[in-house]
Subunit: 558 residues, 2 copies
Amino acid sequence: MAAKGSKKKNSGRRIPGPTNPMVTPMLTDQYQFTMAYAYWKAGKHLERAVFDLYFRKNPFGGEYTIFAGLEECVRFVANYKLSKEDIDYVKNNLSVSCEEGFLDYLRGIDCSEVEVYAIPEGSVVFPKVPLLRVEGPIAVVQLLETPFVNLINFASLVATNAARHRFVAGKSKTLLEFGLRRAQGPDGGIGASKYSYIGGFDATSNVAAGMLFGIPLCGTHSHAFVSSFMSLDEIKDKSLLRKDGSSTCKDFVSLVQSWLKKFERSNSLRGNFAETNQSELAAFTSYAWAFPDNFLALVDTYDVMRSGIPNFCAVALALSDLGYKAIGIRLDSGDLAYLSCEVRKLFCSIEKEFGLPGFGKMSITASNDLNEETLDALNKQGHEIDAYGIGTYLVTCYAQAALGVVFKLVEINNKPRIKISEAVSKVTIPCKKRIYRLYGKEGYALVDIMTRESEPPPKVGERILCRHPFEESKRAYVVPQKIEELLSCYCAGSSDKKEETLPPLKEIRERCIKQLEQMRSDHMRRLNPTPYKVSVSAKLYDFIHFLWLDEAPVGELL
Amino acid sequence: MAAKGSKKKNSGRRIPGPTNPMVTPMLTDQYQFTMAYAYWKAGKHLERAVFDLYFRKNPFGGEYTIFAGLEECVRFVANYKLSKEDIDYVKNNLSVSCEEGFLDYLRGIDCSEVEVYAIPEGSVVFPKVPLLRVEGPIAVVQLLETPFVNLINFASLVATNAARHRFVAGKSKTLLEFGLRRAQGPDGGIGASKYSYIGGFDATSNVAAGMLFGIPLCGTHSHAFVSSFMSLDEIKDKSLLRKDGSSTCKDFVSLVQSWLKKFERSNSLRGNFAETNQSELAAFTSYAWAFPDNFLALVDTYDVMRSGIPNFCAVALALSDLGYKAIGIRLDSGDLAYLSCEVRKLFCSIEKEFGLPGFGKMSITASNDLNEETLDALNKQGHEIDAYGIGTYLVTCYAQAALGVVFKLVEINNKPRIKISEAVSKVTIPCKKRIYRLYGKEGYALVDIMTRESEPPPKVGERILCRHPFEESKRAYVVPQKIEELLSCYCAGSSDKKEETLPPLKEIRERCIKQLEQMRSDHMRRLNPTPYKVSVSAKLYDFIHFLWLDEAPVGELL
């Protein structure tokens, strides 16, 4: 399913098609086809255009974004070809009886003339800086606009959301993505799993994503599993082999029940354990019997402290008698901070009273509509949670459901173009550009600077004037200690440039985690983070303002 | 692409697979497989279970929801089968060396024993009422949970969002879905196009959705098209055939320019028209030349009133000279209410001054981050907009990015099950149920009532006690004038029930529009709408509370 086709690239490697076979040249806006026709009619369709893909504002009130979705774009470009059915559909739906010559042209197009330069996937990126620079015949590049923006917008948004959740949860916690059922459609879910992993999650419940991308899977049982049992009588086979294989316990059910009895007599556990729910006990016993090495139980179907936890402990202790070690519990409702602390205390009491080293440290997973804010609140309250299962708020990016990625013409036929607007934030930065990230003495990134392609690159140790692209008074000298050029070639088109290879998912994830660790903390904090500086060279600044004045109409106050 | 496989159903028809080939049995949560294994180990996997799929709260602060996504669920069920690769993956990833017998069981499963009852797609639906009732072997039905919820959650959310936009915009306006680029992934976009159409939109910009579902397409050109032109000199071929084919205008460009000159001398247009942007003029001329019958121009690249509109009018009038009728303009920035009124005035002046009937009525399309609130604000301000292009806020359901659809066990082995919770809203309504919609004298729906399956159906003209499922004091007698049973059989499993056929998309859309028209207006209004009543029969009420007390632990105040 992953590869619907593949094309040989200049390195000799074959690049498979997009993960989702529905990503075809038809996954674009109708106006890309009407424009292609108008370009073709005007004889302009082969004119060489340069487009920048970027966003204007970091999401979630933050000051950073994780760039993701590049691999899918490259796979799309490498296999771009309209099918016969596509051509027929265009022919019948262009709202004009379009000329046969245009259809011939469409039949022939691919992306062999398209060059794609990009920041590596998984990088920390900032507003206004091109994530992609796409060059090629204008009609073709316009057709790529919609799929590129679609593939990058949500990918980058979810990766950023995941990174923000990781930041609040802290490095030591396990983050599980549980969002498939609430995601925006099938590959809303699959994409969310992939890009949450890039952003720092550890595992997903989504089996398809695990299979497609090799992401570790997680998951045990639901409330329905618990309520599907009525009583312990349902358990027919009661024998369980000891972990070391030395002997078989004939009646695992009785062993579990004997532990519940011991709890009644326990001082530290203060009784109250006799009336646990029998459906739940049967479900736990049965689940542990199927997964003796992997017993993790959802304990809130009836009552966490009076039923779920004692039932779990009885089963865990019975497993322990046979040499198995239970994993822990999951809480899916209630006051998670309070319950986790109570559960931890109880686990520790049991460790002490029954002499079971490690029982107190069993894992506590929390789920139930978690998001950045609830993680932050949990931290403030104090809790004993080891792992978070996060669904809806992560995968739908509930706090901000879209990133405003745009795709703008910056040059045609080697002539720079600007799109002006009454809103300064919407003015485009013209010209084919290079981008550099300048690092200071402490090793932190200080500023990104865009230059015209023809300018000599900045040099380490030299004083460089970095200007705000639109505000005259905002400028600063920087003496970089390290310089990184951000755009590399991913599709060489007909040029002889060397193409970057697409790194495996784990490498993208590692890049992301490493880059986030290297960010200055004031850019990262949740409350009033400091904006990272994005600038242009003095030369580019002058050129922007020359073009701007040239294009903008002079007003007339009446 | 639409059909990856197909299976013969009891009516002899073949049902194609899900639209997105990524919707496979692997598109589920890992815990569905671990539970399946535990059920299998316990010998419980074939126990007959009944699950209800429903949501707890209407989205967007409203009091109604449109049910969508059913067809995809039925297509999924009809073709359910694990592949060899799927089985291998499960084998290696169940976090246990699972027994070969279980893999054999998985190899054999399909949905031939699964019955699916559902409310027709496109219906107006309400919280707590099952949209789907799914019956079958528990292990299989649990595997269906995640894909069902995934397929229905977003579909229903977008359809509802679209219906709400339609409600505010009014029946007479044209609604265009422009969201593909900002959607949550490729089929986030394709799904949004499909379900927006069901909810009352007229067309989409998404070519893939048009091709897959036969939705009308819309779209003309972008800002980049405008800025890709430098001047009128670029237009080489200047000849344009008159619409009636009688003769050819040798120089369409000069004809356009002559109109701009006339504007300078026009009294009513007050001059100020000489300095229009020449890139824009060239782009419009070129676009009109390619689409003389379909000229709709985006007029805000430089300055709407001083450049875009005069340029547009010059081209439209030149077209008119040759017998063509321009369609209109699109505004994508600025004060849309004000600009639309100004543009309308100008169109009317031109109609008058140059004697062109119909020119004043040309279409004005508005776009730019529109949503329910902005449509409402536009209505309050007064405007002259005929069509809205709506993207981000529609397709990502920005105001509420997920619907909380759940899937709950209500019966196993003919024994009703309840899931209790400290939050009453989370208590499930047990039993296999029937649902009826009761209509009053005025023809409006009054209440939905759920009964136990075994109860005799309510009768027209008879007094029926409708009780709130959880609140004792809330109850009312109803004498229905018309009764609709809501659940019908879409997958008969091994029963001999007749299966409903899947209606075409247009029929689903018509059902939706019709049902919305029949809703009482107080349920529909945006501010403080009246909740529609959802009830249970007296018999079901008693049974719920009997079970509840039976399961709930008795508290102990310490």
